[in-house]
Assembly symmetry: C2
Homo-oligomer: 144 residues x 2
Amino acid sequence: MLKALESAQPGTRLATGELLDQLRWNGDGLVAAIAQDHDSKAVLMLAWMNREALEETLRTGRVCYYSRSRQALWRKGEQSGNQQVLREARIDCDGDAVLLRVEQRGPACHTGREHCFYLRLGPEQSELTEPVVVDPATLYGPKA
Amino acid sequence: MLKALESAQPGTRLATGELLDQLRWNGDGLVAAIAQDHDSKAVLMLAWMNREALEETLRTGRVCYYSRSRQALWRKGEQSGNQQVLREARIDCDGDAVLLRVEQRGPACHTGREHCFYLRLGPEQSELTEPVVVDPATLYGPKA
């Protein structure tokens, strides 16, 4: 079905359930999910979703990922308060990635930075470029 | 090392080779790579890189991925001509994703669309939203 859609015209509509049946979930049942700030267009983070997380996100309008470390649904912001309100969700041509355009409340990164991509790579030298804007201890409590 | 960098200040510099040693390559030796248009900030595509592809990209300034289907380095645009010129590369806090800011020559998607995220998901109905801007037959030749 994804192959047939490649040459389809804008405006072509289809049932979301049928489309989700076609996604290429990996061996762990996940697809990559990119969160992009709806206003600034900054790429905030990359996480993972299983079908349940994606369906919940579409239904509730609050972004829910799947935490690979905790092996559980991860409602972004459930601990830090830094929720993501969904403005738009898209999938890519080969059905293994989701793009989420979100309103980000507070910093997206668990380090207290606005986004997770704060390490800029050069051929030889790399550099940390982004400041911590909120002390992570205030988001998650002091570390033991 | 990535953990220690979480509380480091902007301007902290380190050797790229040591940083790449810390990336969390998956079981296939890959990390996810997001390509974002440097000017429009549109998210263009998600692909994969092994260390060799990432090092080549940083060295040459032309984006090189790893093709999972062909199991080989994939110099973006080598067939279609639609190369990506690297403007900036970043990695994320937990070292399993790369963000590439690129100058995209021609459409990024193999379907001839400007980006790969042309299917917008709704809770019940989804819709194809983006037009084909270049006939893919002119990029790859007619399909057999």
